[in-house]
């Protein structure tokens, strides 16, 4: 059972690695917008546009 003295610190270091990865993701801005991404999944089966926006007729 003395293996616990080795395994537990390793487990905690691994958990720490996970937390570090989370820090990295937060600082990359991956959690900045929590509202928009959930909608993007809805758009997969929406047909894509066919035309383009033409230049304005009266360009002042």
């Amino acid at each position: 059972m003395t293996v616990l003295f080795v395994i537990l610190p390793i487990a905690i270091v691994m958990a720490g690695a996970g937390v570090a990865a989370f820090f990295w993701a937060v600082h990359r801005g991956q959690f900045d917008d929590l509202d928009t991404p959930r909608y993007r999944a809805l758009f997969d089966d929406v047909e894509e546009p066919t035309g383009g926006i033409r230049r304005m007729k009266s360009e002042r």
């Binding site: 537990l8 905690i12 909608y39 993007r40 809805l42 546009p49 926006i53 360009e59």
Partner: protein, 867 residues
């Protein structure tokens, strides 16, 4: 075809026409019976055409998925030239190493998932745009494009034509600060969560071990590990509570963080001591769970409040940042900050005056409703003075700038507002008041328990007191209160009611004085035709003549009369689109000069020579007859004496505060129209409901006293409670005179209300309000009418009911737990089981109590639409 359009084509009743783009009702004057699609304004029509020509119709299908308030599209049709200037590029555009450019643009009109889809299709419909990423929350799109292929102004035009007018995202610094704050909270949450999970695993082993045999060395090891992890959790994410509690104690007040900090601190220190001395219980699992759950509650509330703040901040962004200065022969666009006294500026129809000044060239009409509360637009000529913030509704004028920035009339009002905000009494929030009582009660019980057990043994006394302090920690309140407030604020935001603080909701749940502004709050804030006297069949003629008028009277007549041909009007000026005018009560009191006026149209019947006379009316020629439309004075100046019935109508209109307009054909008056600022259809009902729920409504108006009384009568407010002709200072002093401890709520939209909004216990700015009133208010209602106010009051009541019920339930748990702890039955395992159960049950109650009835609208659909 959209659902709205389908409904129209099956029933084809003029009253039911809904805009094919936005779904709002179509004004009678804009209905084209022959056309397939009906539009409430030219803007919606233009966007509809653009979407169809690009194959973007799926937008309408996506929009049906969400419950979004309809909103008319208002493309500006500007060329967005300023987007290409070097100054703009220097400020807002980042050049990437690969040669592409990147810019953030704030968009008007972002509401739902369909907007995300539409905006992010930009690269597909505009060659040269590489990527468009929309943030729904900030209503900001990050555009990446190739500047060798197209200038940013083309991107601006394209977004504008999709119905989202772009503006530079100006508050980059503020957004960066908020982003950092949100990231910091997210990291705290992550750390607290990870430590909670690991500590619970260790605790599980310890609990299991305490029933079986666990060798002493492993027990020690596990306890030390838990202590280490929990110390990190308490010292890093947990410091939030300690700081807040310390700040409150230094101010000699209390808040909910004081009892929380007490529990965390005592539990943490006692646990550490016990680990070091290798005796007694440790509570690290419960403490880390506490930290995590409390942070979750705070995070949710923070996000929800930021949302409301962002949404209001976005409205600030939309005020014009540039104006046109005349330099020699050319007119150039400059930022408002670059304006100097004695500059000559050009202000086009629909724009706001950027500074105080005197008109040099041109004549027009200005709408000062937001500044002074006057409902009637005032005509201006060369030599008249105009004020910053007023809207030019007529035609182009050139103005010599006299005062800028803080020296303008609006600038001085802003000073008043700032004073109002400073003098606003701070009301302690409910949870913090409870927190104070909590601290006192828990301390007394803890002292009693300690004293009682001291007689047996000191170690036992410490153990039981620590157990008591931890189990009585108001975790449930600390988690459930922010959650309840956040859910209520979020639900309201979805209904276009933006609440800036939870405290505002709390105060609205009480009862007290309700001060209502008149223009734009109780009334619609724009001119409308209220009554029509004369043969109905004259209306198409009026419609035809007023078709191109920019004058507010002309627009009101045009919108209230049915058209005949399929010609679309020019873009409607900035104003509230989509509310339909009451049909005039036609009374054919005298025979018209011709058996039937016939229908104006092509050939013989065409209307010719429409001339805006500028002295109160306009003239035209139709079927070789002279037509005059204008004020009674204008018509009599043309040598026309009104008939008796028309004269009676004019007198009646003027007595009831309406503006009279007369139609004369071939020297005879044939019809009269009464125009005024109509009371909103839901005002009377809302006032009634609000009074029933304990509020005393009063009217504070900047408009004439008689008009204020008239409106009071119409909405059912006592004559004595209606005050008119008030200056902003008088409004402020009425709001601040506090006779009782009652809550004072001020509802208004104008700059003249802003100081009062800031000083009131709760300031509510309503739809279409001025920038100053938005900054001063605690709540912004982005939907017209008073019905949202009723909804707001009822939501706040419900929320506070849920919060009080949470308090009762958690107190019940606490009394049980405290009794068990005092008796010495509370073990760490009991605490670890009791805490999640109490939290989950109270959270469930909160979610059911608030979300369960989120969808209820207060009024029936008929009452809302005003049919």
């Amino acid at each position: 075809m959209t659902i709205a359009a389908e409904r129209f084509s099956t029933t084809l009743r003029v009253e039911e026409a809904c805009c094919a783009h936005c779904g709002l009702p179509v004004p009678a004057g804009l209905i084209e019976p022959s056309a397939e699609h009906q539009f409430c304004c030219a803007g919606c029509d233009a966007v509809f055409q653009t979407l169809h020509s690009c194959g973007l119709e799926a937008y309408y299908r996506l929009r049906e998925l969400g419950d979004v308030a309809p909103r008319a599209a208002r493309p500006t049709e500007s060329a967005f030239q300023s987007f290409d200037s070097p100054t703009f590029h220097g400020l807002y555009v980042q050049e990437r190493p690969d040669g592409l450019c990147c810019a953030d643009l704030a968009l008007e009109g972002i509401t739902c998932a369909a907007c995300v889809w539409l905006v992010e299709r930009l690269p597909r419909v505009l060659d040269g745009v590489i990527e468009a990423r929309l943030s729904l929350r900030e209503a900001t799109v990050r555009v990446t494009w190739d500047r060798r292929k197209l200038p940013l102004s083309r991107v601006g035009q394209a977004l504008d034509r999709l119905g989202y007018t772009p503006h530079p995202a100006r508050d980059e610094l503020a957004r960066e600060i908020h982003r950092r704050e949100a990231r910091r909270r997210m990291i705290h949450l992550g750390v607290a969560g990870a430590i909670m999970g690991n500590t619970m695993l260790l605790a599980l082993a310890l609990y299991a071990g305490s029933y079986g045999q666990m060798e002493e060395q492993y027990r020690m090891f596990f306890r030390w590990l838990s202590a280490g992890l929990a110390s990190i959790s308490l010292a890093w994410p947990g410091s939030t509570f300690f700081r807040s509690a310390w700040a409150a104690l230094r101010m000699r007040t209390t808040n909910l963080d004081v009892p929380i900090s007490l529990a965390l601190l005592v539990g943490g220190v006692a646990g550490l001591v016990n680990v070091v001395l290798n005796r007694g219980e440790i509570y690290f699992d419960s403490l880390t769970v506490l930290t995590f759950l409390l942070l979750v509650g705070r995070f949710i509330q923070y996000r929800q409040q930021r949302w409301a703040d962002d949404a209001v901040g976005l409205l600030f962004n939309l005020t014009p940042s540039s104006c046109r200065v005349v330099r020699g022969d050319e007119v150039i666009e400059v930022p408002v900050e670059a304006l100097h006294e004695r500059d000559v500026i050009e202000v086009r129809a629909g724009e706001l005056f950027p500074a105080d000044g005197v008109v040099r060239e041109g004549k027009s009409t200005v709408n000062q409703a937001l500044l002074t509360g006057e409902s009637m637009p005032t005509p201006i000529l060369a030599g008249d003075s105009v004020h910053a913030g007023a809207q030019n509704v007529g035609s182009v004028v050139r103005v010599v700038v006299e005062k800028i920035g803080r020296d303008t009339r609006v600038g001085k009002l802003v000073g008043l507002i700032e004073r109002g905000v400073l003098e606003k009494p701070k009301i302690q929030q409910f949870a913090d008041r409870v927190g104070g009582i909590f601290t006192v009660v828990v301390s007394i019980i803890a002292a009693a328990v300690f004293a009682f057990w001291c007689r047996h043994s000191l170690a036992l006394a410490i153990d039981h007191t620590v157990a008591l302090l931890i189990v009585t920690c108001p975790c449930v309140l600390g988690l459930a209160t922010p959650l309840a407030l956040a859910m209520a604020i979020g639900g309201l935001a979805r209904r276009d009611i933006l609440v800036k603080s939870g405290a505002a909701l709390e105060r609205l749940s009480g009862r007290g004085r309700l001060m209502l502004d008149k223009t734009g709050t109780l009334t619609e804030g724009r001119l409308r035709m209220i009554e029509w006297v004369g043969d109905e069949s004259w209306k198409p003629l009026v419609n035809e003549i007023e078709r191109n008028s920019n004058h507010p009277v002309g627009r009101a007549l045009f919108e209230a009369t049915p058209g005949v041909a399929g010609i679309l009007p020019p873009p409607v000026l900035r104003g509230r689109v989509g509310e339909r005018a009451v049909e005039g009560r036609g009374r054919a009191t005298e025979p018209p000069p011709q058996p039937s006026p016939g229908i104006p149209g092509e050939g013989e019947n065409a209307v010719r020579d429409v001339i805006e006379r500028g002295d109160g009316g306009l003239s035209a020629v139709w079927q070789k007859k002279d037509i005059f439309i204008g004020s009674p004075i204008f018509v009599s100046r043309k040598g026309i004496t009104p008939s008796q019935s028309i004269n009676e109508a004019i007198e009646r209109f003027e007595n009831s505060g309406l503006t009279a307009i007369v139609l004369a054909v071939a020297g005879q008056t044939v019809a009269a129209a009464g125009l005024g600022d109509r009371v909103r259809h839901d005002s009377r009902r809302s006032v009634q409901v609000l009074r029933q729920s304990g509020w005393q409504p009063q009217i504070l108006s900047g408009d004439a006293r008689e008009v204020a009384k008239k409106v009071a009568e119409q909405v059912g407010i006592d004559d004595a409670a209606a005050r008119g002709a008030l200056s902003p200072e008088q409004k402020l002093s009425i709001v601040t005179e506090r006779k009782t401890k009652d809550v004072t709520v001020m509802v208004g939209d104008g700059v003249n209300d802003a100081a009062a909004l800031a000083a009131a216990d709760v300031g509510i700015a309503v739809h279409g309000g001025a920038e100053a009133s938005l900054s001063a208010a605690d709540v912004y209602i982005a939907r017209p009418g008073l019905e949202p106010l009723v909804e707001l009051v009822h939501t706040s009541r419900r929320t506070m009911r849920v919060i009080r019920r949470n308090l009762a339930v958690s107190l019940g748990y606490n009394v049980l737990a405290a009794a068990a702890a005092a008796a010495g039955w509370m073990t760490p395992l009991h605490a670890a089981i009791l805490m999640p159960i109490s939290s989950v049950s109270v959270l469930a109650l909160t979610v059911v109590g608030i979300a369960g009835r989120r969808g209820t609208r207060f009024f029936s659909k008929q009452e809302r639409v005003g049919v």
